[in-house]
Symmetry: C2
Amino acid sequence: MFSPALDVPPVEVVLEDKLADWAVTLERSVLRQMIGVVSRPGILSFAGGLPAPELFPTAGYAQALADVLAEDPRALQYSPPFEPLKQQIVQLMAGRGITCTPEQVFLTTGAQQALDVVARLFLNPGGPVLLEEVVYTGIQQVVASLQPQILQVSTDLETGMDVAGVAAWLAAGYRPGFIYVIPEAHNPLGVSLSLAKRQQLVALARRYQVPILEDDPYGFLHYDGQPLPPLRALDDAWVLYAGSFSKIMAPGLRLGWLVAPAGLVARLTVVKEAGDLESSGLTQRAVAAFLQSGGLPAHLAGLRHAYRERRDVMLQTMAATFPAGVRWTSPAGGMFVWVELPEYVDADEVLKVALAQEQIAFIPGRAFAVPGHNARHCLRLSFSNVAPERIADGIGRLANVLNQFV
Amino acid sequence: MFSPALDVPPVEVVLEDKLADWAVTLERSVLRQMIGVVSRPGILSFAGGLPAPELFPTAGYAQALADVLAEDPRALQYSPPFEPLKQQIVQLMAGRGITCTPEQVFLTTGAQQALDVVARLFLNPGGPVLLEEVVYTGIQQVVASLQPQILQVSTDLETGMDVAGVAAWLAAGYRPGFIYVIPEAHNPLGVSLSLAKRQQLVALARRYQVPILEDDPYGFLHYDGQPLPPLRALDDAWVLYAGSFSKIMAPGLRLGWLVAPAGLVARLTVVKEAGDLESSGLTQRAVAAFLQSGGLPAHLAGLRHAYRERRDVMLQTMAATFPAGVRWTSPAGGMFVWVELPEYVDADEVLKVALAQEQIAFIPGRAFAVPGHNARHCLRLSFSNVAPERIADGIGRLANVLNQFV
């Protein structure tokens, strides 16, 4: 038996000559580190993109799990993608105005895996990808290991992604592996794209034969009437649509899906199998049973009602208390409000004071900035996981902090 | 609203200039395609590496899920790795002779993800990796997308991996991203490495500073006394150990773990987050509750008893009925027997006849061969998911088929 010698070097020494720039990638996970720091007890947190756990359909899902385990002897076995769940997702997608077939539904271990398999399939190492300058950190982590050339386009608090900027890259001859878009209730901005911009985007995708990866975790969480059609409703050939059960049921499920051309599914399967073989068959069956029970529409109505109130309280309190010179978005859905402070203010400094004086947390905007873009004067507030009365109190106290900087 | 034109090209056209050789990768998934084909009703299948579902701890796990959902309001929320589960795994590892701390336990979405994150971290695109010429298809799928140089070593029905071959590659100056080893009850061979070979392997890893990825899904399924110590028990600096709940509880959980140096965990976390953010917090809590209930040792004893009988029936029937000129392994654990036919026999042809005449299925050996290695005269039999009396009957009928070829 060997006894480890004290002078054995650590395994990390061999990482130094590995291509992947993990220093950069580690920096990308700044968001999650921050969330850890600011999730201390006693902190009133507008930080994480967390749904409200008191609104989870816990009892209904527990019943679905119990039923499936009692009745389906294959529930815990290796198994192919569960066909009844695909059919339920087809119906769910119809509610978003998307027409698709079960053969076009590809089940994933959360929407994050949907982004990952698309990136692994469509993005060459070192190749170009098109992102907004401020965008969901998860897509940045996905592409970082491929060390891509990031074709940046700007994004606007009121109108979102600069689609003319997308057209300019494509007209200049660039062919990104894909264009990443969150048309509805953008993370972190909260903005939704106009119908004209949506139509322009899919027209560009078709004209230049560049796939769009449409990320739609918040599409079912809209608070002001009906949302506009997703990109996939406008084009079924060049739009890959990523959906998620995390925000409409619960993140602990780790279940999402892609709607993709049926001709891609065999390739997507190979990539996904390398990552985790398959998504939990038990979870697939239990979610299908929950959806089959018919409880989702009422559950979604309850979510929209609760989140709408939280959003309204946040926006009203901001309008009443935030100092002049501060701008913010007015989300029609989702979980986030994006705040732009005057450029001379550093949101990291604001966070320090907010934590120390008021025990208030948020995420500084730089966590969402692509490399080279400056968002240090911005911050993201999440309203989904704080009760309305605490939102009013916390935003008022955050305004006190902002008054020290602006 | 756009109406899709009929002349829009499919999104697949842009894949033609993508680096990843998906044709090769698709070929790698031949195994799962075969399993689909041979899983038709009425087929007596020795094909898939499936545990026996009638032995799953379904009632105990259902109770654990119900308890967790009733008592833990965070069970369905995003959450960091569940500390009590890490502590349970530390205890589990002690049962394999491995001393580790919770800080060295990294939770993954099945052991497949453990292999994937290690490959993404340690293997450069196009870089070398060391594999046996016949080896688990899942690791081949993992590395395929990185288009590695595969440093092959031979493997033997009685003694397993050619460790002298490993030494030769390293002495010649090659530095693979990692060395992949299944020391206990190899998939597909069923062979286990001697203590001397285990000691030589970890000595090579330390001497040349090359990490070993030890894959141990079957380490708890040994049928002849105590198994030898895993590599991780011999070295804690250069061995990354992958464990799985799929074979000791159930695959539908999709939960596994790495035991790795604590200094690697931050990097592993970044890679894992890109893939699926986190593994299901509900599953983590329910598995921890199941382990906490203390039922695993008795469950494992039952599994060993049942699988031992199935292995014995298979080996005894093979010895009594298979024609001369056929060799096979004698597994001390796991789920598989590897069969070598005379080189002039093509296992694909045997499979066709076995399916047509006897409704018997297995996996041809070529599914497990690394590119360039010929295993067309080999096949893998799995004994874990067939009742003993059906094994005796099915192996006898397979012998009839073999007699037509040998």
